[in-house]
Symmetry: D2
Subunit: 285 residues, 4 copies
């Protein structure tokens, strides 16, 4: 995966319609990742831990996610942490464990990539690449994942305006990527009762401005498991094409994001109550 | 309505449990305003124009709100406007028109009061007093509406933290008010695609911290009618006890908030789709 | 001080140039309050406690402010507090103590008014009326202080945009006030290391857009006395026409804002170091 | 410049005092970059264009910066742009032009690096590496510049709290870097009159919490040349160890940031007026 173009202008052209833009009358693009389809009738539920910790943990959680109605697994191999001394993830070893969990559960998986030098290795194994909230304007990384040809889950991050977020997707598409899914996860505001302020209005704006699907991560916005299900329900009612939910087989001992990870039982309840809402608005889950 | 206590400490005492706080196991307090109950099974829909303009306008809208399933009328007699040269409302004349519209439609009404010197006049006519977003820390006004004994709709405003908002309600209760309904309407953040960022996580936090009902105003957060229904659906799914929605019989010619007011048809569609969501979570509308 | 106009449009007219606007080539308006001039060569330093507590306290502080080079006294008789159970100020008794301190120190004083019903009483005694940060969009109050004819110190508050702040001054001037001084005191942002984020760029913007003077309150932005002098120096260098600084004879026992009040010695050091900066930019203090 | 450690924990240890922390009584660390010293008595002024465009442009500007009292050159070879279709910089060719301009002017230069794969190439030529505002939590990049051993100019970005910013520097130091200079450049808030809100209180907080120098970029906060000098003066008065100022020989035709670049004459006036302030607080410039 050389990136000979990274010192040059992308292939796209200024003045032409952006690749991410929804044309009048255009339907939402369905993005496939393994067996999962984003943007179709069915709301996708992605579950899994913040970080991959060991074989038993990730395999056990993957099976619980599948049982509870989830259709995709998430788990971090590389974890962007505020402190350099916090657990940074298992790296490439984590990728292998995710592949095992996929085998065991039948669920495709999405995982975050942080470093352009790791993109090829992740793209060879993962079903979908995640661009995390701190990387949404990491332009070399966006180009690299675009060039990989894999579907990309593009988180918003704490600061970008919707316009900047759309442009981040345009970087991916200008580099050759065609399958981008937006993921709103809360923005940084003055309010600190929740970790971040979930901006569900962004779903309505994205619907107008892009043909690409949009999902919601209620876990990072909440920062506490007590608030996750409320936000998940609201996201489905607002028309989200999917949910990205942190769940752990033993949240009390999780190596990261312990406070906001649901237990398997809570995760199952979330999918049940969100399914009822999805059906009330003419979708399913 | 003298306010002899306004130079003194309120009756409540530091160190005791705040009056707004939810005790362990305490149910949500049902607040009644005319025939309407906030905090019961049924989600309340309040509709009406930003400002009362004339008899025909407010009466016509009130009937449309009733027909579409709304159970309460809103309309501004005094309008807080950024510019001193913008339309400021009809004042006391507007109150009389609201009373006529109540008579014609059978709907009780809520209206904003801006000035402590107007509280008594409004309390004599209105079914519920609204504290607007710019007045949430107008402490003399909060005490006056608390002393009036009328139910109060307390908007959050663009800036207050949830903690400051709870304290605003405590001012009302410390002055003798017992019936306060919180109304989330979007906070001010860096994002400008919508007018404000609706903070639906606040519903989950308020449920823990107060026994009082909470409703949502999707119109002011949206700033555009295209986004109102999406936010309304999300609010009901998040567990809001009601909605406060701007609607107008002729939005294109409204004297204020023209862009965000729904037509009668849009308002009827909103109530229908929100009813389905309410039923999906075990409530009604 | 009746306010018969408060249900009607102000005297000003939409479409004409706002009264606050700086015309091309127009000099900064010098606003006088007692013996003090805002907007002239000399940078004004206002010192005093958050709240008036008793005769000895306010008189002692007033003398210390005068000795240290301050030219005006501040002190709150009515204090807007987040909790209804916190100390709310001495009210009208506090006004009398401020008048005594003026007599003892020779310094004119500015004090906040919260309630339109108190404006006349305050205007009879105070040299300048302060509109606090929570009242910047309390339109009935703005009209009342405008009608009083007294000079007004208009704080920005935590949320208003510069445009909203200018319109708040326009409310005062449309009601007949001519002497408004803006006071930047920090806005609410995501950063919590200081209480608020001081927006000194606002000084540059106001210089373009209004002919009225602008001063800075470094104390409320800082929230801690350790940061006050740094912000005060920066404000003077940015061209502020004055400083509003909390100082107390015994900060450790202050009834409010104890953490951010300077000792008399710190206050004297602040004026000395700010004077050097004022002279470096061709002014004095 | 291999980065074998990038899948593993950094060398530092949780629980020990962070490397960035100021110990009691510790003096500010002087960071040298070429002939320039950050954190000494003299306030450093860095000038130059947003982007390197061609030989004449960068050489001409470098000489003007030197003549006007600047002591270091800035210029972007890789430009992080919101849109993939905007000018992205000359890349490695730009580095060679910067080296020519250094030769012609005698000024060392700082330039931004965006991609971990470019760090070695930049480190071989530049006197100081800049981490831009969008990269402050790009952890692989922070580790790579730390491992390079070059001095690093670490911009804050629009979103990080001061605590996150300190941790970003800790990533650099944990990877072996010892010479980090912080650069405040404005945070993202609701206020849009200026591009960003310059947080000068951050200087006071960093003084307490770290032994490393801190400078200020007034240009990106201002977004317009009309406001740059006001912010620069305030920064020097607040104790900044340096300024990073955009200047261009022909701002009207600059390929990026045209609006906020000073002309050579404006840049010279800025250094003169800031020197007077520096001397007023016992420093020089």
């Amino acid at each position: 995966m050389t990136a000979p173009q990274r010192d040059k202008l992308p292939a796209g052209e200024a003045g032409t319609t952006p690749l991410v833009s929804r044309q009048p009358g255009q339907a939402t693009t369905v993005v496939s990742a393994g067996s999962v389809q984003f943007g179709a009738e069915k709301v996708v539920v992605i579950g899994g831990p913040c970080a991959v910790e060991n074989t038993d943990q990730i395999t056990s959680i993957a099976r619980q996610v599948a049982t509870a109605g989830g259709s995709m697994l998430r788990g971090g191999a590389w974890k962007p942490r505020t402190s350099p001394y916090a657990f940074q993830g298992l790296g490439r070893d984590g990728l292998a464990l995710l592949a095992q969990a996929r085998q065991a559960s039948g669920l495709p998986f999405v995982t975050e990539v942080l470093d352009p030098r790791d993109v090829m290795a992740v793209a060879e194994v993962a079903d979908m690449l995640q661009i995390g909230s701190r990387s949404v304007q990491n332009f070399p990384l966006l180009r690299e994942v675009g060039a990989s040809g894999k579907p990309v889950l593009l988180k918003r991050g704490m600061m970008p305006t919707i316009d900047e977020w759309l442009n981040a997707a345009e970087y991916i598409m200008a580099a050759g990527g065609s399958d981008v899914v937006f993921c709103e996860r809360g923005i940084r505001t003055f309010e600190t009762a929740l970790r971040n302020t979930l901006d569900l209005g962004a779903i309505a704006v994205l619907r107008e401005r892009t043909h690409l699907p949009v999902i919601v991560d209620p876990s990072h916005a909440a920062g506490s498991r007590r608030y996750v299900t409320t936000l998940a329900r609201a996201a489905v009612a607002a028309g989200a094409d999917g949910l990205l939910v942190e769940t752990h087989n033993d949240p009390g001992n999780a190596l990261s994001d312990a406070d906001q990870s649901l237990t398997p039982e809570e995760f199952a309840e979330l999918t049940t109550s969100c399914r009822a809402i999805a059906r009330a608005i003419g979708r399913d889950l």
